[in-house]
């Protein structure tokens, strides 16, 4: 059994003291930012990237991964207790979770979310371990043409499933790809779009963009909104254990949510957010007239929470096996690997088995830590909910500044981040999403290289992308996705699905 051997290797790595500590650090940080509104995993991971220079690759990635799935747990806490989803993937949890809290059943809701997430996390870990090797083998068959087509599919997939206008999201991808063109051309050595500024010939750091748009841009947007008055259900959280009746109702939802989340997470563009939405819709449909959805149905908490955690886990698959990030957090993970001198892609599994399997095993360990962190220790996080934003945003500001400065120890990056802060605010005002831009920016250089190599190999014949079966299949899939989303019937349903979440 290769699977068991691999997992054994992984657990051997994950259970070393250092790695356990970093997994714990990641989980605590993840829960923290999940609980604190206004700070998401993208900004946090971007902020921490400079600090991983000092770490080994394995503990660094274990910690960053912990932040991502930890945020899923923390996000549900705020969704249930104060009706403010700490993370976008907890938006649907707030609908029924908050109602449960108002009826004095916050404990049961938190337990359903926590235990459901843990179950999903365990299944997700096994799925990654089982599916990563065959996918990796497939990836080795890929030539430049296939890689280019795969990236097109990945980028398109990332936006058709997201909310908001499709055309604007595609435009944001292209903008990301264009920003990535500000660099020195690898093949000819020509400096592009540098305006004779020496710093620009090395390109713009993706941390600068992520920090500007997701860190500062969001601060400005949050401060621009009127202060809200929140009702916190802190006293009602006792009696964490759900009743037998709760268990009977929630367990099938957890199973369904996990299955759905695992499947959707693997898709390009999938991940936590989409999985949660889809699971909520499914639970509501299945329950039919027996459901009390919107009025505190435990299935509306258990299903989406399991799904978002399963999705968060399996979205590591495309990143680990193909080196192609399906969402903005994975894009940062790719960046982190590059910082540590690891070229993301199918070769990671064979060249760095310790890192690969250690990371996967650490996810299970991390999920276990998170259940403990979030259920018995819930009181600590509830206290944090009462920290006013006026203490938080200066802290985020200074951490982001230090993070950008220490990236290369120069102030150029800091100034550039200020520029992107404004850009981020403009995007926010025009409802253009930042995540597709970041994905495009990360994939830009890879995409150009593969495109040019594919064209060189085919002697300039563009049809190479369509005559090679694998490549053609990927492009057709991408085109189909756009067409399906554009269909009037799906389009209206998609709008309804996202409108319900608001």
């Amino acid at each position: 059994m290769d699977l068991l051997q691999n997992l054994a290797l992984g657990f051997g790595v994950a259970f070393t003291l250092t790695n356990l500590l970093y997994a714990l650090a990641g989980c605590v940080l993840g829960t923290l930012i999940g609980v604190l509104p206004g700070l998401g995993p993208v900004a946090t991971i971007a902020m921490l990237l400079p600090s991983i220079y000092a770490l080994d690759a394995t503990p660094a990635l274990i910690m960053l991964a912990g932040i991502y799935y930890g945020a899923q747990y923390g996000g549900s806490t705020t969704a249930i207790l104060i009706n403010v989803p700490g993370e976008s993937s907890s938006v649907v949890t707030a609908i029924d979770g908050y109602q449960m809290a108002r009826q004095g059943r916050a404990g049961a809701a938190l337990a359903a979310a926590g235990l459901g997430s843990f179950f999903a996390g365990c299944v997700g870990t096994i799925i990654i371990a089982a599916f990563a090797p065959p996918l990796t083998e497939l990836a080795f068959k890929f030539g430049p043409a296939e890689y280019f087509s795969l990236m097109v599919l990945g980028l398109i997939g990332a936006v058709v499933l997201a909310s908001g206008s499709l055309i604007k999201a595609i435009a944001m991808i292209i903008l990301g790809l264009l920003l990535a063109q500000i660099n020195t051309d690898v093949i000819s050595g020509t400096a592009r779009y540098s305006f004779d500024i020496p710093e620009l010939t090395d390109g713009i750091g993706f941390v600068v963009i992520a920090m500007g748009i997701f860190g500062f841009g969001e601060i400005i947007a949050n401060l621009g909104m009127p202060a809200e008055h929140r009702e916190v259900f802190t006293k009602e959280v006792h009696n964490l254990w759900p009743t037998k009746q709760d268990f009977r109702m929630a367990f099938p939802s957890v199973l369904r949510g996990t299955a759905l989340g695992s499947a959707l997470g693997v898709l390009p563009g999938g991940g936590a957010l989409l999985s949660a939405f889809a699971a909520y819709t499914m639970e509501k449909k299945l329950a039919g007239a027996t459901g009390r959805f919107g009025k505190g149905d435990i299935r509306g908490v258990a299903g989406p929470e399991s799904a978002n955690n399963a999705g968060a886990q399996t979205s590591f698959i495309p990143m680990l096996t193909l080196g192609i990030p399906p969402n903005a957090v994975m894009a940062l993970m790719v960046g982190a690997m590059t910082i540590k001198g690891i070229q993301p892609g199918p070769q990671v599994m064979t060249s760095n088995p310790q890192l690969f399997w250690g990371l996967i095993a650490s996810m299970w360990v991390g999920n276990l830590m998170l259940v403990i962190l979030n259920l018995p220790l819930i009181g600590i996080w509830i206290k944090l909910l009462t920290v006013p934003y006026r203490f938080l945003f200066p802290a985020i500001t200074i951490f982001c500044c230090i993070g950008t400065y220490t990236l290369n120890n120069n102030t150029w990056d800091v100034y550039l981040t200020a520029v992107f802060a404004v850009v981020g605010y403009v995007f926010y005002k025009l409802s253009c999403e930042g995540a597709p831009l970041l994905l495009g920016f990360i994939l830009g250089p890879m995409m150009e290289e593969n495109l040019r190599r594919a064209l060189l190999l085919s002697r300039g014949d563009w049809s190479t992308f369509l005559t090679r079966p694998l490549s053609a299949g990927l492009l057709v899939a991408a085109a189909l996705m756009v067409v399906i989303v554009m269909l009037p019937s799906i389009k209206s349903k998609r709008e309804v699905a996202f409108a319900e979440a608001d």
Binding site: I220, F391, I398, I402, G460
Partner: protein, 156 residues
């Protein structure tokens, strides 16, 4: 001609302008041909797509009705300018004065961006964060970032 979606109108215009800008820039670099794509090849391709998408968004914003005209809303100038100022202050001060002065200064400036401003809170926040930054970034992560002002000579 009436604008039916303010947000889409401005985004369309933005995408179109960026597309045209990058396309003009791409003209400075050798395009090559499809068999031997030059440094300008991929950027030109992208900027053309960008401009087309921008034009579509622009066109839609002028033709498709939206509820209430989808206004951009008021611009939060105060937080925008103050946060920018805080970041710029950090960049100017950090190499000369070190974290011990820069961190409290940035906290102070940034705090003005909020709705409420209490001196006591700002002082507490500045002290806690300066200490925290020293512990996390210098002691914990061992990053090279000056703690003391340059004229005091002592590093970290």
């Amino acid at each position: 001609m009436k604008i039916k979606s303010q947000r889409d109108f401005w985004s369309g215009l933005m995408f179109l302008a960026i597309g045209v800008g990058f396309a003009v820039g791409a003209g400075n670099y050798s395009l090559g041909n499809s068999a031997r794509p030059g440094p300008g090849y991929f950027p030109l391709m992208l900027s053309v797509i960008m401009a087309i998408l921008g034009a579509i968004v622009l066109f839609k914003s002028l033709t498709i009705e939206t509820e209430g005209g989808d206004p951009v809303g008021h611009i939060a100038w105060k937080p925008l300018l103050i946060i920018m100022g805080a970041i710029t202050a950090f960049a100017i001060l950090i190499t000369k004065l070190g974290m011990i002065i820069t961190v409290p200064a940035v906290i102070l400036i940034a705090s003005f961006a909020g709705d409420e401003f209490h001196w006591k809170d700002v002082v507490v926040n500045a002290v806690v964060l300066t200490l925290g930054c020293w512990l996390i970034f210098i002691k914990g992560l061992k990053l090279t970032i000056p703690m003391w002002p340059a004229f005091m000579g002592a590093a970290g």
